[in-house]
Symmetry: C3
Subunit: 158 residues, 3 copies
């Protein structure tokens, strides 16, 4: 059996529920003593952005506008339950004492989960290193992500 | 080579096609003699719900209403082919003698696939153990899911 | 550590960004010397279709119509940035000198990535072998996919 060889999650979705899933699995993995990495790419980058406006060109600014707000602004992947989506989800989670996204992200950080940001996605979407939270360990390419995945015993693409 | 060490699928999507994919991969895995587990979380729980109304609070009831019907009511993840979605899909599958979701789920059960339900999702969505089909082996947390994933040679997040 | 045991990607999504992710991870994996396979199923098949109309029956033809155009016609999974989606994405990628889907697919082929097509999906959607690009190595079932996954050190479901 592969003992505590580590977890490598590729987080491509920036939907509330899927970012939640990524943080939850990563923190559970790290809490079990497994070296754990999340590689954020495309829409997933929202989970580790500060929430400020980004982009220099017209299109980069447009994406920045759509991505603004960071963790607080993520909506769920399913059709918002007819529009009440994020608000309802948060309320139900709070009512059940489930940690919110900010808390979960902090738990990941405290437990030593390593955050990687995808270089190519950042280039395309015009996101700079300083637009990401300080806790991001590095900005890397897909080759590094695959190398880490190969060394890990658990891999998920979310 | 990792020989028959098992498969661990995290099923978060409740879309028809993705539930179908989960059952298909799990049954293929179990048929090959690999210990196989599906961990159902969030929308994926629909795949192992009886289909009755759930929830006590207002919001729990609302989710219950949206989730009602169980396997029979799942729609595909792509835009329903302009509205004909589920009906067409089922008809085409039947025309090609492809097993339906109920049959596939039963095949998984018969082949010994273990169904886990996510405790936290059930709490948030107000789904009780008795709302799930009897064949669900256990209601567990993410820590258990990650432990099983670490012991498995194949992991998928669907 | 599992050294270069290979990568097995199940590509179910036919969205531009997710097909892009599949090709990128596969090419990075193959470039690192790992035997790499992509198993295309359901909507993912679009990534290896020639783009011609398919299907004999009414419903098969309808799906064929929706799937027409192959790689050139894929839209992103998120709401098209308010309608500009594919066009903007391609333009931004070109501006940053990021390879397009056709280039990426060719890179995968040149690096020896093995393309498998899902037999059952092809049956249901009425796609024939001759509707797929010549470079597809084989048309196989889920059992073969799971066997390959079990032998691989990295597995992703995209």
């Amino acid at each position: 059996m592969a003992e505590k060889k580590g977890t490598m999650i590729i987080q491509m979705s920036g939907d509330f529920d899927k970012v939640f899933a990524g943080f939850t699995l990563a923190s559970a993995s790290a809490a079990a003593g497994m070296p754990t990495t999340i590689f954020y790419t495309f829409w997933g980058l929202k989970a580790i952005q500060k929430g400020n406006l980004t982009g220099k060109g017209i299109m980069g600014r447009m994406i920045g506008l759509l991505n603004r707000g960071g963790l607080q602004r993520l909506g769920p992947s399913k059709f918002n339950f007819g529009g009440i989506g994020r608000w309802m989800f948060k309320k139900m989670m709070a009512a059940k004492n489930v940690a919110g996204l900010e808390e979960l992200r902090q738990a990941c950080i405290d437990l030593g989960v390593k955050f990687y940001a995808c270089k190519m996605s950042m280039d395309v979407m015009e996101i700079r290193r300083e637009d990401l939270i300080d806790e991001v360990a590095d900005v890397v390419g897909a080759a590094t992500a695959m190398k880490d995945a190969n060394a890990a015993s658990v891999q998920y693409f979310i």
